[in-house]
Symmetry: C2
Subunit: 184 residues, 2 copies
Amino acid sequence: MSHRYLVLGLLSERPMTGYEIRKRVCETMSMIASPSYGAVYPILHRLLREGAVTMDVVEQEGRPAKKVYAITESGRDDFATWLRKPAAADQVRREFLVKVLFARDLDPEELTAHLRDRQAEVEGQIAVLEAVCSEPEAQANGYHALVIDYALALYRAELCWLDRVAQAVRAGELLQDALLLDPD
Amino acid sequence: MSHRYLVLGLLSERPMTGYEIRKRVCETMSMIASPSYGAVYPILHRLLREGAVTMDVVEQEGRPAKKVYAITESGRDDFATWLRKPAAADQVRREFLVKVLFARDLDPEELTAHLRDRQAEVEGQIAVLEAVCSEPEAQANGYHALVIDYALALYRAELCWLDRVAQAVRAGELLQDALLLDPD
DNA sequence: GTAAGCATGTAACTTGTTACATGATTAG
DNA sequence: CTAATCATGTAACAAGTTACATGCTTAC
């Protein structure tokens, strides 16, 4: 459901094509979503059917014609209503965590490998976010910057956790049952 | 996909019924997942069909008969293979974040309300995690405790972020475009 | 008596991914 | 000549939710 409103929100800034929407989301909002074309186009078709957007075919030479979608008053109302409704609660839900949960079945080296993989992934995400941060588009929109800051804060906290756990594994503190982690 | 392996992982500890599995996940692993019956039962049927588990009908007086599922060697192999594969990357993806992204369309009080809602939600989650932490089951399993600690670390980081943003809103630092948030 | 817990299940629906098809231009 | 970028779309599939149906027991 929130992909729909992400699309509508972006169109409330300016008219765009499906291709453009997807590109913008994947490049500057990848921490929130990375929808495929198979998600974006059907959403636009549906919004059009419902009258939340209008569509304008723009011929281009050289390139294929593009369909520019623009939000309508009714679309703005729909978006405004959604924006004011309380957000649904959602989980942390990472495949990575399920693997940690059953790490008693892994050798310490295998667990360490998972931790290292995740660390590389998180560091990569942080690098992407910092790059997005320094772009003019993100700096112009305080709320976009806010969301990036949120993701950075969580990723940095995760990095700390990964470090602590990697140390505990190295120290052999995590055996079959084990102790660990002073509560703060 | 990871629900399947969560089920298989739990069954690798001891035989259980679908009802039990769901209850245990929802009560002690709610930060990772809260599958509905409509998710759990079909997974078990499929695992049975594939030979990853066996099923034993146990009649009970008073209560309806229950179906106890136990993991097979083939199921253990399947699980062990999955456990060693690198985990898929996943996003932060919170509906809440999409609302923040478009908060320029909200009055400061409306944004504050969203922030407060989220704060209450996060504090509730932390309370649940701390309660689970103190149970003997979680303390006996170091890896379970580890996952709880992960979730706590992220939730606490989020709480800090929420605080910072709430303050910025109160101070009127978040207008149409706005500055904000010294990079660390 | 009524709500909650035990216990199983299915059907309809939603939301999304992957993989495919099409086809032109530009940069290496 | 090959890959990437622009640009649209569909079909098959995967994974899950919600809502329903059933039915018994125990605690308030």
